[in-house]
Every structure is written in C-alpha cells, then in structure tokens.
Symmetry: C3
Subunit: 277 residues, 3 copies
C-alpha cells in the first residue's frame, strides 16, 4: 500500500470512530481506568467498564471491541477476561490485548499465555519488554515500563519480533516506544511521533490501547486501526507537550486529553511520521 | 410551593452542605470514584469509600448519606450494597441509588431489582434508558449512556415515568438529560441547565449522584436536595464549558471541579432554570 | 544533627530519587490510586500497583519500597498486604504504611493491628486521628479525615505519641496535619509547610505516602526520607495554591502534580520550614 493512501485511510478511520461512536468494553486496571474512559470518549467512542463474570459476556455482546488489560489483574478478573475474550471471538468482535507488566511475575506471565492460547487477539499492544517476553526472548521487565536493556536491541530485533508474533498469532502486533513498530505479519510499519514526556504520566500506554480499540470498533482493517490509535495518542502527546510540557505533569496530562478530543483527520494526516520498514 | 421559594431553599440547602460537611459513604465504581470523591469535597461534604462487607455497616452508621452506584458491580460489592442499604434504612440515613447501565445486562437488572426490593431509596438518579428499564418500559440501554430511541419518548413519558416510580417506591426520582425531570410522586420539576459537553467526560452522572447525596446528607427535603445536587452539577458544567469547553475535554473536566468548588447559593439562585411541569 | 545538614540531606535524597528511579510497589485504594501513580512518577520514581496474592511477593521482590494503604481494604487485599509486607521484611525492602481511616471500623482497626503485628514498618504516615487510634488513645475518627477534637490535643500530645510509637515499633512515625510531626523514637522534627487547601482534594495524604515511599526507595535514612516526601507534598501544595488555589479545586489538583514534577533540591531547601521539637 502507498504511504499516502495508508495515512488517508487512517484519517477516514478516525472519522468512522467519531460517526459510529462504537461501544468499547474494557476489562482493565483500576489505576488508569478513568483516563481510559476519558480517552475513549475524547476520540469519539463510548466506554463501558464491566468485569464481573456474571455480565462480561452480555456486555461484550453489545460492544464493538473488547480491551483486555492486565495492569491490576486478579483471580476474579482473569477468569472474566478469558470468558469475555471467547465471547468476543464467537461474535467476531475484535479483541485488543495489553499485557501490562508481562515478564514481571509468574501470574502475569501465565495469564498472558492463557489469554494468547484461549483468545484470538486482533491487536496486541505492549512495550518492548512485554512483547519480548511474549516472543520468548530474554526480557528484563522491571515493573510496567520497558527496561533499558530490552530497548537496546533496537529496531531490527523489534521488527523481527513484531512480524513473527503477528504471523504466529494471526494478529497485528504493536510495540510502542520512541519508535513504534507495527506488523500484521506481512507489512512492518514504523511510527515516529510522540514525546518522552508520555512516559512521565501513568496510563499513556493504557490510553493508547483504548484508542486502538476505539479504531478497531469502527474499522475492519486492524493494521490501520492500530496505527490510527497509536498516532492519535502520540500526536496528542506532541501537541500537549508543546502546550503544557513546561508547566508540569498535571497540566500535560490534561492537555493530552484535550488534544485527543480535538484530534481530527487533518491533524492526523499532517503530523503522522510513518514509513514502512 | 412557589418557584422562588423552592430556589431559595436550594440555596440554603447548599449552605447547609458547606456548614455541616456531611460524611457521604460511597459504594461505587472504580472508573469515576476519584471524581466522585473530589466532587463531594468540592461541594463541601466529605467522602468515604468502603465496600467490604466486613465494614460497610460500620461506615454507613457514621455517615449522613449512602451512595449505591452499580457502575462496576461485582458479586462481592453487590452484597455489600444490600447490607449497607439496609443498615442505612434502619438508621434513617438517606440512600441515593445510581443504577448505572441498568438494562445492559442481567446482572445489572437483577441487582437493580434487588436493591429496589430490599432497600428503601431516598433518591433514584439515572438517565432515561436506566429509569425506563426500572419502570418496566422497553429500554434500549446501550452501555452506560441513554440511547437515542429512549430519549425520543421525550418529556411527557419521562414525567409520567418519574412520577409513577416515585409513587411506587416512595422516593424522589431524577431522570437527568438535556432536561432533567424530577418527581417526588406529587410534584414534577423540570430543570433546564447543563451542556452537551457533560456527556463527553466520564463520570458526570456519577458526580451528580454524589452531589445529590451530599445535599441529602445536609437537608431533609429530598426533592430540594436532588434539585440542588443536579443543578450544582449542570450549572458547574455551563460555567466550565464557557471557560474551557473550547480547549478540550481534559481542561473542561478540571473546570467542572473548579466550578463545583466555587458554587454558592448566589450562583445557584441566579442561574437555575427550573419550572414545574 | 544540624538543621542545615538535615535539609541538605533531604535535597540529596530527592536527587537520589530522580537518579535511581526506584520501583515502588503499591497495594492501595482505588480512589486515589491514579494520583499516587502520577505523584510517584512526578517525583522521579516508578510506580507499580499489584494486589493479587498470586503475584505480590514477586512484585515486592523487584521493588525498592512497598506502600500498604488500607483506604479501600477488602478481604482479598488485606491478605495480600500481609504477604507482601512479610516478603519486604525478608528482603529488607522498606515498608511505608498508611492506616487510612484507622478507628473508623473494626475491619480497619483489626487490619491495622495485623499489619503492625506481622510486618515491620519503616515509616507509618497518618493523620492525628489515625495515629491516636494506633497509640491506643481515644480517637474520634470521622471517616478518613482527622477529627477536630483529635487535633485539639495539639502538638505536645502529638510529639509524645509519635515518639512512643516510633520507639515501640522501631519505625519512623509521621503525623501529617497543619504542622507535621515526625519522630524516629529519638528525634522529633516539626514541619511547617502546606496549605489548608490540600484537605479539599482527595488523595493528598495518599500521595504524600507515595512520595515518602519514593524517598525510602532511594535513601537509607528513613527519617530524612519521610521528611523529604512530606515536604515535597506540602511545598507542592503551597506552590499550587499560589498558582491555582483561587481558580478552584480541579486546577489546584493538577497544579499539585505540576509542582511535584518540578520539585528539586533547590526549591526543597529554600522553602522547607523545619525545626526540632
């Protein structure tokens, strides 16, 4: 696909989010859930958070996409994620998986494996440490941020990893970081927007996942959806950094949500730094 | 009651919140809980969130009002809500119920029915879809927002529904939306403040419920309390929209809390758009 | 120790947080958890929230400090707190305990006692009502804020209480309020920064605890760490109040995070109001 055509398709995908207002079911962590809901609303979709096993199938059934985010997983919600994921698969509803902290504990590792084994994922989005863990590579996950040693492997390994996972799982894989690496198993796309400041506010990864799910809820091409969601986040970060980065983290945080709510196809197309690897 | 007298009573009710600082026990969802706590503080009351069955009776006992909000209900907290609600009834502490997403899943429906059957509610606050579901009307609940088809029925049906529920349950019913419909079974009050932007930030309904509970914790007249809480929210929305609506959702969100914290009887009385149906 | 030397050590402790970026494991409440994560990031540390018994030992093991905060405790997380606390003790990782609402319910009281009996705490941080309860004094805890009657006892009793608890538990005790009282059982330090506005935003106590833990994760002297964390919070409050206090609670809230993110040794040293009792 031509780069220009890809970017324009992203713009149309954003417009589809705003016109269709897809309902996005989140089973997610309690740390960043408010930001995820507000990011989902800001991009034009509609969030619903529900994690009880007694209702997750019903809620997934009325939704246009499902987010599984293991940031504060527990025995109760892990089971709900598996049940909701299977229901989504049954109904052909896209599932976006954010393996927060995969590699940091056996529980996260086993849960990540269970979800990948039992649920067909549409988009997998994580940082380099999390995705390296999933690829079975050595990963030095330190908490919920990518470790520096994992980042040193750099773009080449990242591209290989994203491509391989995507082929194996039949999904789009997105490794977000200074350069975001996306693959659907055939193409590899590199995205160059964003700012270091995004790592100084909690939940920017989770919000990014919510935006990807919002795009998936409105567009069938999940590579374009993943790119659209990630670029909406990273371009919003750039705009927010320019406006409020010097003021401090609190103002920057709110400016991110401001910028997501003002995002449109024009801004996305103008600012997107994208190329095929 | 005269309209002027009603509005002035609301103003005095707000002053009572600020002077009495009532403790408001919340059993609520984890999506918007921080905003609920901050809205409660901003209006002059004091929030406490506690949901373990081992302590909800103790916490309700020292509180001046109880909020039950089923936004992210689960097996554990549903039981706690029933126990806390009964304790509140025993001690004559007002209970404000927010049936978030009623109609969207069997679990929410059954829980809503259980709460209404087992707990005497002082104020029921929801959107048109949620309240239609409770009234036994067809409701096309789509997630946690009112569906457009449910809104089309419009004011007439809404007034009838609010009045009937209030009579049946012996409570005040508040259907919030573009026009808010309140009834205590005898009077029907319409409130015309607010802005569409309020639906673009998550938790404005939940915060509204917290404000209603804050008023109920300081005033015995629950129709006035409901009107005071709802108008504090919707007028704060208007002020915030004027100040920050164009900047974006994040700034608007913070401006809502700013405006609630600056709300006083004078602003409330000046801006209230209220009439009896 | 000389006052000047103490303040300069605090400055160096802050620089150590920013250079070491310690990982801070939180088992905390869902009301203020987002602010705790953002405060931890703003001061230069890295937060991870994990509360499932299946992973808390693993997460504590890779962390530099552990926060136990009982704000929304439940049967599941109480057990996790005890297990994580013991693991931290085994590995010599400092534990910072915030007994939110101790005195308000039997569950909070028993949990507080269990934690103090089974886990060796490095720093105990609470308000006057909570700490009085722990000292076995009459405490009139009303929810999660210190009651006025408990505050009337004033500085003298507070100093005695802090000193005694610190001796008995072998920890640093910090009673935060208009004047913060710190003791390690030998010294008593009084801190005079802050603003009343901090009590009008939820979570400023919890954030303070997260900052103390961030300092403990980077410095071995826990009296200096506690003072550094508390002063970072209260000086940030002063700066935020000056900048946004008149605008309202939402803007003030964000300005607190702004000010924490801009805190440095120079500001800390210049503004600290500190003296030995």
């Amino acid at each position: 696909m031509e780069k220009k055509e890809f970017i324009e398709q992203m713009g149309r995908a954003l417009e589809a989010v705003r016109s269709k207002k897809p309902l996005i079911h989140h089973i997610t962590n309690y740390v960043t859930v408010n930001d995820c809901a507000n990011a989902t609303l800001a991009i034009g979709a509609s969030p619903i958070m529900a994690d009880d096993i007694g209702e997750v199938e019903a809620i997934t059934s009325i939704s246009s996409a499902l987010v599984l985010n293991i940031g504060t997983l527990n025995g109760r919600t892990i089971e709900s994620m598996l049940v909701a994921g299977k229901k989504a698969n049954e109904m052909n509803i896209p599932v976006v998986f954010d393996p927060v902290g995969a590699g940091a504990s056996d529980l996260r590792n086993k849960t990540t494996q269970s979800i990948l084994n039992e649920v067909k994922i549409s988009v997998l989005r994580g940082n380099m440490s999390e995705i390296r863990f999933i690829a079975g590579l050595d990963a030095a996950t330190k908490g919920v941020d990518a470790s520096e040693s994992d980042l040193e492997g750099g773009l080449k390994i990242g591209c290989r990893v994203a491509e391989t996972i995507s082929k194996n799982l039949g999904c789009v894989t997105a490794i977000t970081g200074a350069t975001d690496i996306l693959s659907d198993g055939q193409h590899i796309i590199l995205l160059g927007n964003g700012t270091k400041l995004l790592s100084r506010v909690t939940g920017t990864g989770c919000m990014c996942t919510s935006l990807v799910a919002s795009f998936c809820g409105a567009s069938k091409d999940h590579l374009i959806a993943a790119a659209g969601g990630i670029l909406s986040m990273s371009i919003a970060g750039e705009i927010a950094a320019e406006k409020a980065g010097k003021i401090g983290n609190g103002s920057f945080h709110m400016a991110i949500i401001d910028a997501i709510s003002k995002m449109d196809a024009k801004i996305l197309i103008e600012k997107a730094k994208i190329h095929e690897a």
